[in-house]
């Protein structure tokens, strides 16, 4: 059954979600997009029409919305008659938008964990700090709420589940590796909201090892990976949303997240952080103006969406999953390779936005067709991975595996 969709947000990921929803509006139904700045939504819809992305004639409307305003969000959900909300606005909105969905009885999908503006890299358990507190209410009311349905978290959770279901008898280690081997040609830019990007890396690094949280400093532990297509790349241990949910849902396995960084990124990050410019806490200028340094850094940096036209190169994101198979140690690497230029040509966004946005639409399609309409809150690894990865393969993100030194496509 077709389900109408409301997209919240109007950044690079929302652009991808809008295009992919349009391309699949035979499965989804009427489309709506809302953000604080309506003109951004208008521009996205215009680009959808320019690319003739709507698979069949259909509604696609823009709305102005402050999604922190729960009542306004509920009113928009009711006015538009949507059954699914895809929240790809800033991570500060999650709790408000989820509340609005629970109150109106519609499905909720997001791509990143909730954050409070004043708190950076909170102490785990992250999902349990916010989202999971509403799990019981979702179950009672029969609300489908799919958490972290981007690429990482999201697809990488499905990869872990797939490895457990199909390739290993027992999982002992999950190492998620996220490498962007692309180049945007700017002096410095982040690939998604700088505020969220930097906040990920300014606090303590948490990983789940030997049944407990281990803490490290950012850039303390680095490792060179040799990956398909992108080759040898240095990645660093970071905290990340999915480390928490996988630690719980893949009991007995160590869970680590590794992000690739070049020396230039690390240098810029280190300078900004050490000076205090990545702080979420307000400082007062000599003139008495209170201002959050991180928000000023964000205002100075290129809009991630603006990087797309000149972005070149590829991303490789996947899971090294290690464990026991037929009594012997075994490891698989399940991954995707995406291309910045191809993403831009298809939907007008760069590859990082593409890999984050397409899975949210696949999840919406799974909710619409019932396969993931589970009437409760779920992280992606709790849901059947194969139909999701099959859908992703069809709509733009193929899944590959490297096993016993051989690489082959699983869902393409």
């Amino acid at each position: 059954m077709k389900k109408n969709v409301l997209i919240i947000g109007a950044g690079g990921v929302a652009q991808v979600v809008a295009h992919k929803c349009a391309q699949n509006n035979d499965v989804l139904g009427d489309l709506h997009i809302a953000s604080r700045t309506k003109s951004k939504c208008d521009a996205i819809i215009e680009s959808v029409h320019e690319k003739k992305a709507l698979k069949q004639p259909g509604v696609f409307e823009a709305h102005a919305l402050d999604a922190l305003d729960i009542e306004a969000t509920k009113a928009l959900i009711e006015k538009t008659g949507v059954q699914i909300v895809i929240n790809v606005g800033t991570a500060f909105l999650n709790m408000s938008v989820l509340r609005a969905c629970m109150d109106t009885g519609v499905a909720y999908i997001d791509t990143a964990i909730h954050e409070e503006p004043g708190k950076i890299c909170e102490t785990p358990p992250w999902y349990a700090n916010y989202e999971w507190k509403h799990a019981d209410e979702c179950k009672e009311k029969g609300i489908t709420a799919i958490l972290g349905a981007g690429f990482d978290p999201g697809v990488v959770n499905a990869y872990a589940r797939l490895a457990k279901d199909e390739y290993l008898d027992k999982v002992t280690e999950i190492d998620i590796v996220d490498i962007n081997a692309g180049s945007h040609g700017k002096y410095f830019a982040t690939n998604f909201d700088p505020e969220i990007n930097f906040r990920e890396f300014t606090g303590v690094v948490y990983s789940w090892q030997k049944g407990q949280w281990q803490t490290n400093q950012m850039f303390e532990i680095g490792k060179e990976y040799d990956l398909p297509v992108v080759g040898k790349r240095k990645a660093y241990l970071c905290g990340h949303d999915e480390v928490h949910s996988l630690a719980k849902n893949m009991e007995g396995a160590d869970v680590r997240f590794w992000m690739g960084f070049g020396d230039h990124y690390i240098n810029v990050f280190t300078v900004l952080k050490n000076i205090g410019l990545l702080s979420e806490k307000p400082v007062k200028t000599a003139e008495g103006l209170e201002v959050v340094p991180l928000k000023v850094v964000k205002a100075c940096l290129p809009d991630p969406a603006s990087l797309a036209p000149n972005y070149e190169g590829k991303t490789c994101i996947g899971d090294f999953v290690k464990g026991i198979k037929d009594g012997k140690e075994h490891e698989v690497f399940i991954y995707n390779v995406a291309d910045h230029k191809e993403a831009y040509e298809e939907v007008g966004s760069q590859g990082i936005s593409y890999t984050a946005g397409v899975p949210a639409v696949a999840a919406a399609m799974m909710v619409a067709n019932g396969e993931w309409d589970v009437k409760q809150m779920a992280n992606v690894e709790e849901l059947p991975p194969k139909p999701f990865l099959e859908t992703l393969g069809r709509i733009g993100l193929s899944t590959w595996i490297r096993e016993n030194g051989q690489e082959r496509a699983l869902f393409a």
Copy 2:
């Protein structure tokens, strides 16, 4: 005759000026200090009393003043009955304070060229853009206004004049070199107001060569100098106030200014500049707040005054002056070496503030004793250098010369 002094400003340089005025209140008279934040003035006066710096019993009062408010400044000058104003507030105040002095008939001394908040590294002629426009009025009214009476500009101007008067028949090249070989132990800090510090280096670099302005980029032209005490140090061609006045007052000579920078400073500066964080032009945050990035960087960096307690090492600032003597090429290096720790022990400030503040007090003493009370506007190189350098030698900054490979004290 004793003359009462009003110090404007309450930063690191003002701290030095306050202590040195106190130490010489037999030549100067009643002392007053004013800034926007009166508590900073109170703290400075407290430190003066702690060090028992007043040479003889005398007045030292604190006042709250927005020195951009000309009428308020005039009222304070009249109420306190001062005859000399030492302006060591931000360089944005010069024109307002000078106006107040001209209207009330008192002497004016500053240590840096006027700046307008919205304009960075204006096109030369710098002094002619602002200060020198008031030269005729000063002359008519008999106002003594001594411009740039810090170390550089200031003492280095006197060094150039001394070289011309005493060591060369004709001056062909003046290379002012400013090396801070000290260490404050912080990740990053500027030695004086970060806003003024960075503004010096974000624009085009101007030097005076072959009778015209030459333009370069910052850090484009570097040179290793081998200097007394501090040894081999890399310095870079920069624009600086005194290049302009010396170009005019030392006709026929090339004038260049070289500032020492370590690789770490250059890296931090480059990152901040390339990202746009050193811009004086407001940006708008996603929340709609208009803010000048440079002012936020300033708010994040350590207060220069706070560096003093742990500052170690020495500065070396001087002039390489080249020309013709008895028909042959000849060069002298006239310089001072200052020590951060000694400065802190004496006046509670680091060496950079010390070298900037002591000369302004020497200038005030010269105005008080009549030797520099010239009843007109003047840059330091237009005034007799020897009594000024003698005074400086007595009150804390000795002058040395390296000539024919030998170093010796001139005024110590």
